[in-house]
């Protein structure tokens, strides 16, 4: 007696009707349509999205300046920053102004003034 029972479907499976496809797939669904139907049906893309590396502009401004100033000086400083940022929003200048840049520009103005007094 054989140790293995025969399959109830028989051991000889007829695969003669299966051959490689000869021509292009008729009425093949285009990949773009398949993608749309998939995403609408909750089968989204899982492929990793390659984003260009995001790096903030290198300004070299890494040191913190901490100083006690009057409320009025504080408010004036931030009014100037806001005004410069508004110029960026309307396209008058090409980059977004930071607090550090305003401090540096204030120093440059002070230096020019001091040079003018010395001259």
């Amino acid at each position: 007696m054989s140790g293995s029972r025969p399959s109830i479907f028989g051991d000889n499976i007829d695969l003669t009707g299966f051959t490689p496809k000869s021509g292009p797939e008729p009425n093949a669904v285009p990949p773009e349509k398949s993608r749309r139907i998939a995403e609408e049906g909750g089968f989204p893309s899982r492929a990793p999205v390659l984003r260009p590396p995001q790096s903030s502009p290198k300004t070299g401004r890494t040191v913190l300046l901490n100083a006690r100033i009057t409320q009025r000086a504080h408010d004036r400083f931030h009014e100037i920053v806001a005004a410069e940022q508004a110029r960026f929003e309307v396209g008058e200048i090409t980059h977004r102004v930071t607090l550090g840049e305003i401090v540096e520009r204030a120093l440059q103005a002070l230096e020019r003034e001091m040079k003018g007094q010395g001259a």
């Binding site: 140790g3 293995s4 029972r5 025969p6 399959s7 109830i8 479907f9 028989g10 051991d11 499976i13 007829d14 695969l15 009707g17 299966f18 051959t19 490689p20 496809k21 000869s22 292009p24 797939e25 009425n27 093949a28 669904v29 990949p31 349509k33 398949s34 993608r35 139907i37 998939a38 995403e39 609408e40 049906g41 909750g42 089968f43 989204p44 893309s45 899982r46 492929a47």
Partner: protein, 236 residues
């Protein structure tokens, strides 16, 4: 030519095991078979690198969303059977494979949590059928079942699916050490060593029933019945 996709929105349902079992059994019948391993973990590709892969069975790995359809079309021109093993997740890859499939098999374990995931895939197939105005033949395949005992939960799930006219394969792939061993040693079930793996003949018989039923589904007229009664389990 026939393209068969194994789809499940959940990992661990038995897609890769079922795909390799079907492919190796078909390959023993003087035909040509390609498995496209579309799972990023590449379990079938790993199996193929072990010794004993049939020469008439090709394994293609490394496919992406962009390349899957071309890979299926290309394989279909070269081999009589194309089997697509998909990642266990709901993704565009599943949709792409379905557009090229003659049969979608949805492996699921016999628990309600797993069956709910199978239903998600079935609902998506129905959506695709409406969108493309064509039938996508499919069937649920119960996996990792006990060969001797059919638990009430499994019976209830089968009954529920048949009530909803969801086709369920009469053959379930049982929990077999031989199936795990296939991925440890590589090759095919008949080539496994009996002193290392238990009850190989029962695994071969179970796989042959599965293959025969899949081939019968592929040769059934498109407008034929979609459901069939689940059989009682075989005794170990």
């Amino acid at each position: 030519m026939a393209t068969i996709s194994f789809a499940s929105s959940k990992g661990g349902a038995g897609k890769s095991t079922s795909a390799v079992l079907l492919a190796t059994d078909l390959a023993q019948h003087d035909t040509t078979v390609t498995i496209i391993d579309a799972d990023p973990n590449q379990p079938v590709l790993r199996w193929s690198k072990k010794p004993g892969k049939p020469q008439n069975l090709t394994v293609i790995g490394g496919v992406t969303e962009e390349t899957l359809i071309d890979a299926i079309d290309d394989a279909a021109r070269k081999t009589a059977f194309v089997i697509v093993d998909l990642e266990g997740t709901a993704s565009v890859m599943v949709a792409h494979a379905m557009t090229r499939s003659d049969l979608v098999l949805i492996p699921t374990k016999g628990s309600e949590l797993d069956a709910i995931e199978a239903v998600k895939v079935i609902q998506f197939i129905a959506r695709q059928e409406r969108a493309y105005n064509r039938k996508i033949p499919f069937a649920v395949l119960f996996t990792q079942t006990n060969p001797a005992v059919r638990p009430r939960t499994l019976k209830s799930l089968e009954a529920d699916m048949l009530k909803q006219r969801i086709p369920v394969l009469g053959t379930a792939l049982h929990e077999r050490d031989a199936y795990r061993a296939l991925f440890s040693f590589g090759g095919t079930l008949p080539a496994l060593k009996q002193d290392l793996v238990g009850n190989i003949p029962a695994a071969i018989r179970n796989t042959r029933d599965f293959t025969a039923e899949v081939v019968a589904m592929l040769t059934r007229p498109a407008d034929g019945p979609r459901t069939q009664p689940a059989r009682e389990p075989e005794m170990a």
